[in-house]
């Protein structure tokens, strides 16, 4: 099937039933600031089904420079990008030099400039116009907007508000960077350097009398982001090429992979380089632009494929690979019951069928024991047990209004509503300090729906609450750290939006409170929520993918937010009303891309211990007493 093969499948760039509507040879990318270094290839527009795709495939075996290996070239390959993912195309017509275009994607990221050494830009644009919706921007004749049915002007403006990952500084060390030894850099420094390089690059263009130099500077700054992204993808590809990752059925051989494989692969490669190679010319160290990001979503994991992940005794042999698979496609509904306990950490991946069966039975009686603690409270006892009565009352109020539109819960005396109640009440005894808090019923409802069995649901919920419990702390510290991290991520990934929020006193990000508290439960329909959750629970790209999901939604609506000058209350209303209107697959792709772009700078925005990271091993520090009876 297809996980690793977004490379493989599309490296040919063409599929059956496709019609090539435009071909241009000698369209080149300049991977470095040296004009002499270029990768030439063939640009095509392909019409397939109802959509128009663009590919750019470098030629084999004719490099302008010995440094550009075949592998490097394949990394720049543009593999079948649908125009529905393209936001705009900017045409550059320098007085001296070749015409080039920059293709900006809806995610805000851009491909590197494509230089048309044989001309043909006009024809390129005309062909697109013929097959997709393309309009010339009203305020800049060189900008062409794709798929833009309303308000092209604003769209142009927003397309220029490019993310900046780091502030571009001119520190001496950046300037001196080319002579430094590559191995002495941390990732972050390299990243800074890329920006410096981008700036250098931009200045060069300026000298060349580029009429669009301001834009170029921004675009090039953006490339530093792309570059960053690409370096990681690069190493990932490397790694996969080294293993036998292209054959999906061979997953089980991949036990050598570690969670951190991109970095490991990368450092291996760095070590192979001769010491004296100046890094700016090292394609592994900068401008390594692979043009696949936010990989297309895949069909969900099904039973057959899942079985192949298990050894004869039922161990998951390559949990990394399973998590990756689920990250990109989710799990089929029928299989969730089996897979979720692993994702949630209730079952460990290396347990056998027998071990799990045993655990389930032990846990079942443990559940019954805890449940009996409150079941055995008599009416008389309850009269003098205010906290219990309050808790029970609160839970009972909430379970009857949780997901009642789902048939699983729609009957008035549904046994499933009763199970919700029993589990939540039992949990409030299992974790008496945390107790019950509004929002928990939202988190439990899909779990019960999937697991069916009460005890199993309880333990899966317990596992989830290990991570999300701090969301419900009385002092809001779990929420605070996440909203804080979110503000830092927006600052990193969309500085204009950050500035906008700052100016409008929205930096507390409270308008995202519901998103974060219950993992977008209220934002998507039931099935979509389950899909999102299993993707988040893989912790595959990041433990905090949910924060990147927040950023990607905000970025998607940034034009509206800023354009309509929303203040805090309007924004909160707007965000609440987005519920049901968010395109999950698109958001997940963006979130992945943003996560990769942000890289370690992104992780540095997130304070240690921020949920859903597992808490430090001192529960007493973590939960405060439940003080619901104190006003």
């Amino acid at each position: 099937m297809n996980r690793s093969d977004s490379n493989k499948q599309s490296s040919s760039g063409e599929q059956e039933g496709a019609e090539i509507v435009y071909v241009k040879d000698n369209v080149a990318i300049h991977p470095t600031q040296y004009a002499s270094e270029r990768i030439s290839g063939r640009l095509k527009l392909i019409k397939q089904g109802g959509s128009l795709l663009m590919t750019w495939i470098p030629y084999k075996g004719q490099s302008s420079s010995a440094r550009l290996s075949e592998k490097d070239k394949s990394l720049y390959t543009i593999r079948a990008v649908p125009f529905s993912d393209v936001r705009s195309i900017r045409r550059h017509t320098p007085t001296l030099g070749w015409q080039y275009v920059i293709v900006v994607l809806s995610s805000g990221l851009a491909f590197p400039p494509l230089y048309f050494y044989n001309g043909g830009v006009r024809e390129f644009l005309a062909t697109i116009k013929h097959h997709a919706y393309l309009v010339r921007s009203a305020d800049d004749a060189n900008v062409f907007l794709v798929n833009d049915f309303q308000d092209p002007l604003q769209r142009t403006l927003s397309s220029l508000e490019l993310p900046r990952a780091v502030s571009v500084t001119n520190t001496p060390s950046s300037a001196a960077a080319p002579s430094e030894s590559p191995s002495s850099w941390t990732d972050g420094e390299t990243f800074d350097r890329n920006s410096a390089l981008a700036q250098q690059n931009a200045r060069q263009r300026q000298k060349n009398n580029d009429p669009a130099r301001d834009l170029s500077i921004q675009v090039l700054e953006k490339f530093s982001l792309v570059t960053r992204f690409a370096r990681e993808t690069t190493s990932q590809l490397f790694w996969e090429a080294q293993g036998d990752g292209f054959i999906p059925n061979d997953r089980r051989k991949h036990d050598k992979k570690t969670h951190d494989y991109p970095r490991i692969a990368e450092s291996n490669n760095i070590q192979k380089l001769p010491e004296d190679v100046p890094v700016p010319e090292d394609p592994l160290e900068f401008d390594k632009v692979s043009l696949v990001w936010g990989k297309p979503r895949q069909p969900p994991l099904g039973i057959e494929e899942w079985s192949a992940f298990l050894d004869s005794e039922g161990r998951v042999t390559d949990s990394e690979e399973v998590r990756k698979r689920i990250f990109y496609g989710g799990v089929e509904q029928g299989l969730r019951k089996e897979v979720w306990p692993f994702l949630l950490g209730y079952h460990s991946y290396d347990s056998t069928y027998a071990e799990r069966e045993y655990l389930v039975s032990v846990k079942k009686s443990e559940y019954e024991t805890i449940k009996n603690q409150w079941k055995s409270i008599s009416k008389e006892q309850a009269k003098r047990f205010t906290k219990f009565r309050e808790r029970k009352g609160l839970i009972e109020k909430d379970v009857v209004r949780t997901d009642r539109s789902i048939s699983f819960y729609d009957e008035d005396d549904s046994p499933n509503i009763k199970s919700l109640r029993d589990i939540l009440l039992t949990y409030s005894f299992y974790n008496f300090d945390l107790g019950y808090c509004q929002g928990m019923s939202d988190l439990l409802s899909p779990i019960l729906y999937v697991m069916g069995d009460e005890s199993e649901s309880f333990w899966c919920f317990v596992a989830l609450m290990e991570r999300l419990g701090p969301n419900f702390n009385r002092d809001q510290n779990g929420m605070h750290s996440q909203l804080f991290a979110l503000s830092k991520l927006v600052e990193l990934l969309d500085i204009p939006l950050h500035n906008y929020f700052k100016k409008n006193d929205c930096l507390n990000y409270f308008f995202c409170f519901r998103w974060v508290l219950i993992q977008f439960k209220r934002e998507f329909e039931f099935e979509k929520t389950m899909r999102l959750w299993e993707v988040l629970w893989t912790h595959y790209k990041s433990e905090h993918l949910h924060l990147y999901v927040c950023v990607s939604i905000l970025k998607r609506y940034r034009r509206k937010i800023i354009g309509e000058e929303m203040d805090f209350d309007t924004l909160l209303k707007f965000i609440n009303e987005l519920s049901g209107h968010i395109d999950l697959d698109a958001i997940l792709r963006d979130a992945e891309a943003l996560c990769i772009c942000a890289g370690e700078n992104g992780e540095a925005c997130i304070p240690p211990g921020t949920p859903p990271s597992l808490p430090v091993d001192d529960a007493s520090m973590y939960y405060q007493q439940d003080d619901d009876d104190v006003l």
């Binding site: 609160l394 209004r401 019923s441 006193d505 409170f513 805090f568 909160l572």
Partner: protein, 200 residues
């Protein structure tokens, strides 16, 4: 729009009260004329606006509906600070919700501005058989504390619009609508606490 005439004003209003008292249902009834039997619990807060006409003037309410659970209490000041009006809701079938309402009144009196118009609302008035809080008791309490009192039913719509109109009548006529953010959260002094209460 209401902003063009002088007699039109904006007013920030906040709903406070125990979980399940019917805050969200009252807002839904007032803003959309609907009632949902299984209204979801409110997570965080929700914001709505609705305009009421009053003789020749209008009041546009900017309504903050809050989560009732005590656990989220630390967030409440962010909503009531700077509010021109508050509706404190309890459930007439639930004595504890009435006790909780009194605590909200105390808190607002201690912290809020003295000009704030406060309404005490005994909701679920349609459930007469299950009544636990006598109307007289609430009425007396309201009088003693300078609130006005009404029993409502979000379900049958009884008195719902009346509560809002009554508040509109009692608002001090100070806020011309030219300042659209009038008494809302975005007022200068309201921001610092808003940030602090959420992120501290």
């Amino acid at each position: 729009m209401a902003t063009s005439r002088n007699k039109n004003m904006n007013a920030k209003l906040v709903l406070l009260g125990d979980v399940g008292a019917g805050k969200s249902s009252l807002v839904l009834r007032f803003v959309k004329g609907q009632f949902i039997e299984f209204q979801e619990s409110t997570i965080g807060a929700a914001f709505f606006s609705q305009t009421v006409a009053l003789n020749d003037a209008t009041v546009k309410f900017e309504i903050w509906d809050t989560a009732g659970q005590e656990r989220y209490h630390s967030l409440a000041p962010m909503y009531y600070r700077g509010a021109a009006a508050a509706i404190i809701v309890y459930d007439i079938t639930n004595q504890e919700s009435f006790e909780r309402a009194k605590k909200w009144v105390q808190e607002l009196q201690a912290q809020g501005n003295s000009n704030m118009v406060m309404a005490l609302t005994g909701n679920k008035a349609d459930l007469l058989d299950a009544r636990k809080v006598a109307a007289e008791e609430a009425q007396t309490y309201a009088q003693e504390n300078g609130l006005f009192f009404m029993e409502t039913s979000a379900k049958t719509a009884a008195n719902v619009n009346d509560v809002f109109s009554e508040i509109a009548k009692r608002l001090p006529r100070l806020q011309p609508a030219q300042n659209p953010s009038g008494m809302v959260l975005m007022d200068g002094p309201a921001q610092t606490p808003a940030t602090a209460s959420c992120c501290s």
